[in-house]
């Protein structure tokens, strides 16, 4: 038997008890029941499953759990304050009407956090480029771009 896979999910140490080739997205959704991470495609094209892995946005449908040994995963649930308030980026999406059906939204917010934390949000076109990996069919992106800019400002970036 190889070493068990240990990772942190939303700050909590987790020992994996599923086959090592399980997709990270499946592990999060089916085993941890963190269903805020969504699956919208089978070609790593839509970005609905985006989570942070050690602070960088990745598509969790495109990674197996064996690749996460010792790493830290953050999902939409992980950035949500327990007291019912909102992370500034979440609040910005609400304020700017940056979502409609909500299905792409968690992935979009996680991508936005990566974008902002790496300073790639100076202009609207930079934000648009940074969100290229996330599909939204509802909003036409305009209010998402606005939300990312506002969220970045609220985060002091």
């Amino acid at each position: 038997m190889s070493e068990p896979i240990r990772l942190k999910v939303n700050g909590k140490a987790t020992v994996v008890n599923v086959p090592p080739d399980t997709l990270l997205s499946t592990f999060l959704r089916e085993h941890l029941r963190l269903t805020g991470t969504h699956i919208g495609c089978d070609t790593a094209s839509c970005g609905a499953c985006t989570v942070l892995l050690n602070g960088r946005a990745i598509k969790s449908c495109n990674m197996i759990i064996a690749q996460t040994q010792g790493l830290e995963v953050t999902t939409i649930e992980g950035i949500t304050p327990a007291d019912g308030s909102l992370h500034p980026m979440q609040a910005a999406f609400k304020t700017c009407h940056g979502l409609q059906c909500g299905f792409c939204t968690p992935g979009m917010i996680m991508s936005a956090l990566d974008l902002v934390s790496h300073g790639a949000h100076a202009t609207d076109s930079e934000i648009r480029e940074g969100l290229e990996g996330n599909l939204c069919r509802c909003t036409g992106y305009q209010n998402i771009v606005k939300a990312v800019a506002l969220g970045a400002k609220a985060m002091g970036r």
């Binding site: 999406f93 059906c101 909500g102 992106y141 305009q142």
Partner: protein, 787 residues
């Protein structure tokens, strides 16, 4: 109701539903897992057209975790998926309605057609077992091309040997011929309205549960209209008692039409759930969505516009072949007829219009409504040919439109509709300002200095929302009612729960509808909750499509609130010892007119549920009212769009530099939400014009079967839009004065984009560019023009 005298109506309040979506707490169908959950995988045809010789399932049955396998013969005794609209051909015969089996019986008719369902303990086991099923196919020739399907020697269904579903027409052919005979100018254009794949980001999914205890079923499903789903499934397909089936459409991640329909998978799951004795979940993989979701558009059209010497339109003649795909989807037949040809007047007073539509079967996925549904195709016909006529006659395209605008209302078109109201000049005038059309020539010169060709394109559209009334729709072939239901349940504390038959899957009903109710009752927005999407909670529903939710569903709620207020007045009259007619309801208070005696809404609600001091001899306790609203007419939103595109002639790349929109949606309840609908419609309209095109090869294989092949608009493909909602002409026949806004922009925008590209290339002699105007296609068009 007048928007200006109210405070909550007309205000961009933030959405009540957002918290759960931005925190990952939404509950979409695939998020629901039930005790003893099992999983389904469908075996699908790899061929577009084939006879099934044999299906070998023994190895799959023996595979680990397999609970059951069912094939077409298990489903042979149950009904096919029904079509909800009967179209009658010109010769008086009904459309051809071949059976649409839940699981293919002996023939598969499109790639992705269901051949078997495998149910197992886990999804991985279901998939592994499905791979062990061997199907012996006798491959048949495939009919794929829309334009030639009716001439193809291969018949897809024995009931339609020429592959024709119907040949239908509207308008006075002889009068149109006569008008053409005396025309000073005739403009002709043939084009294809490209086939699209809706691609809501949430794939279709279902989870079916059978409860032995009371012999009932529960189906969680990605549906825009759970009551219709239940009715069609129980009455027409499975033969189950309607009241023993509960259909829940929880949070649904976008629909755009594709989740209106009753699909085979959910029927198969409900049927199998009793046999397996465990809940069964299925979620489409994106590749399955591409293959099996109902697609949209796919028209081949020739249009001719007759004009007099002054540029006045005399007549329009249109001939369209519409692809139905392999089977008739739920509303397929009415899309290229009732929702298409009736829109061909657009904003113009064209005296005579004739349109003939031939619907054909092909070995492709079923085609049905996709955002706009028939109306984008009509608008494209009209706004392209008007633009071309202007060019041919050397009249400014804006001026030609103006000369032909309908200016008096109500206006009866020659194609069956009566527009109640509108002001086309107002939206056109305004869009020319916000688009800065005056600055176009300077921008064109600046582009030219960079070696780029800049063009400007216009589109003035009308659309018809909230299809109605039921009796006229019925006379035209509708097999369903087109009203909506609502219930307003006032609780003893004065808090309110509203149940609506409309379903929200991004549109924001939970906010917009609450604004209306809170305003009418003079209570806080947080004191109202909107419930939708569950047949066990909501009394009935016709559902969300055709931009009908607020105009029809909202009106039903308004009627129910009116009843609550009327009963409240009687209760208040008793409490205040006044006559019923002396009570007025203002700002959440029942008052005796002309006095300071009053009761708050919550006090009256409490009295209704604790009826100690109550007119029990005259009035039932409780404060809970239902209403059904059947509109007397469609609503007719309209607007004007201006697109500026820059074409690089060396590569064919088109960049949309500016897009401006001004729409008249009548009264607006939440401007922020409406603007969001405009943005989304623009993205889909520009997507159709520039990027999206569903392609099958000649064998009927879907070439654009993934997001890497089918070009969805991404954030950096779109410009910053300039949009404005006009003060507007309120709808004259519903209580809120609202029109629809969900589809309008997907309807109106594609021709503006193509008109801009054609304008950019006009100097090269280009008179048409096909959609999607991909770089390769534009480059080819430029090269062809140069030869």
């Amino acid at each position: 109701m007048n928007a200006s005298r109210t405070s909550l109506i007309g205000r961009s309040v933030e959405r009540k539903e957002d918290y759960r979506f931005i925190t990952g707490a939404g509950q979409y169908t695939d998020d629901i897992s039930l005790p003893q959950q099992s999983y389904a995988c469908f075996v699908r045809s790899p061929h577009a057209h084939a006879r099934i010789r044999a299906i070998e399932t023994a190895a799959a049955h023996a595979a680990p975790g397999v609970l059951a396998i069912f094939t077409g013969k298990d489903f042979a005794a149950i009904g096919g998926l029904p079509c909800g609209w009967l179209i009658t051909s010109m010769d008086g015969t009904p459309m051809k309605e071949p059976k649409h089996p839940v699981i293919a019986e002996d023939v598969v008719r499109h790639v992705g057609d269901q051949v078997a369902i495998v149910i197992a303990d886990s999804l991985a086991e279901a998939k592994a077992a499905a791979a062990l099923i061997e199907v012996d196919y006798d491959v048949l020739p495939a009919v794929v091309d829309t334009a030639t399907a009716a001439r193809n020697a291969t018949a897809i269904h024995s009931v339609a040997p020429d592959n024709i579903c119907y040949t239908w027409a509207i308008g006075d052919a002889a009068a149109v011929d006569a008008a053409f005979a005396k025309a000073a100018h005739v403009t002709r254009l043939s084009f294809i309205n490209n086939r699209l794949i809706p691609n809501a980001i949430e794939p279709r999914a279902a989870n079916a549960l059978y409860a032995r205890g009371d012999d009932s079923y529960t189906l969680y499903v990605t549906s825009q209209n759970p009551h219709v789903e239940r009715l069609l499934m129980t009455a027409f397909v499975l033969g189950l008692p309607e009241h023993k089936v509960r259909v829940v459409a929880p949070d649904v991640g976008g629909g755009f039409g594709s989740k209106i329909y009753l699909y085979a998978e959910e029927c198969a799951l409900v049927w199998a759930s009793k046999r397996v004795g465990r809940p069964i979940k299925w979620t489409a993989e994106r590749s399955e969505s591409f293959l099996t979701d109902a697609h949209g558009r796919d028209h081949v059209t020739t249009a001719e516009l007759a004009l007099d010497k002054d540029g006045k339109f005399l007549a329009l003649r249109v001939d369209t072949t519409a692809n139905m795909g392999a089977y008739l989807s739920t509303f397929a037949s009415c899309i290229p007829t009732i929702l298409y040809a009736t829109l061909l007047a657009g904003q113009y007073a064209t005296p005579q219009i004739y349109c003939r539509v031939q619907a054909v079967f092909t070995n492709t996925a079923p085609v049905d409504a996709y955002r706009g549904a028939g109306r984008p195709e009509a608008t494209y016909v009209l706004e392209r040919i008007v633009e071309l006529a202007a060019r041919e006659l050397k009249i400014d395209p804006v001026e030609l439109r103006r000369r032909n605008f309908i200016r008096t209302f109500p206006y009866a078109t020659p194609v069956a509709l009566t527009y109640d109201t509108g002001d086309y000049e107002a939206t056109l005038k305004r869009v020319l300002e916000i688009a800065d059309v005056k600055g176009f020539s300077a921008r064109k010169a600046a582009s030219a200095a960079k070696g780029l060709l800049r063009g400007i394109g216009y589109s003035c559209y009308i659309e018809a929302c909230g299809i109605a009334p039921s009796n006229i729709a019925g006379a035209l072939g509708a097999r369903a009612g087109l009203y909506e239901a609502g219930e307003v349940r006032v609780h003893p504390t004065g808090k309110v729960t509203v149940f609506t038959g409309s379903h929200s899957h991004g549109q924001g009903h939970e906010t917009t509808f609450a604004q209306v109710v809170a305003q009418m009752l003079g209570i806080g927005l947080d004191d109202v909750d909107i419930q939708h999407g569950d047949t066990a909670k909501v009394l009935f529903g016709v559902g969300t499509y055709g931009s009908r939710s607020l105009a029809v569903g909202g009106s039903a709620i308004v009627k129910a609130v009116d009843k609550v207020i009327a009963k409240g007045k009687k209760i208040a009259a008793h409490l205040l010892e006044a006559g019923d007619s002396d009570i007025e309801f203002v700002n959440g208070e029942f008052r005796v007119v002309g006095t300071d005696r009053k009761k708050a809404f919550a006090e009256v609600a409490f009295a209704a549920y604790v009826p100690h001091n109550y007119p029990l001899d005259k009035l039932e306790p409780g404060l809970n009212e239902n209403a059904f609203y059947d509109p007397t007419n469609f609503t007719f939103p309209a607007g004007s769009y201006v697109c500026e595109a820059e074409v690089d002639p060396s590569t064919g790349v088109v960049r949309i530099d500016r897009f401006a929109a001004c729409d008249d949606f009548g009264n607006v309840v939440n401007p922020m939400i409406v603007e969001g609908q405009v943005h989304g419609g623009l993205a889909q309209g520009i997507g159709q014009a520039l990027r999206e095109g569903c392609a099958y090869n000649s064998d009927g294989q879907l070439v654009t079967g993934s997001f890497t092949d089918y070009a969805m608009p991404r954030a950096d493909d779109l410009p910053q839009f300039v949009v404005e909602t006009a003060r507007g002409t309120p709808c004259t026949h519903n209580p809120l004065g609202v029109k629809g806004c969900g589809e309008a922009v997907a309807i109106g925008s594609p021709p503006a984009v193509i008109n801009a590209i054609v304008d950019a290339l006009a100097g090269l002699g280009v008179r048409d560019v096909a959609m999607p105007a991909t770089p390769y296609r534009v480059w080819q068009t430029i090269q062809a023009a140069k030869r």
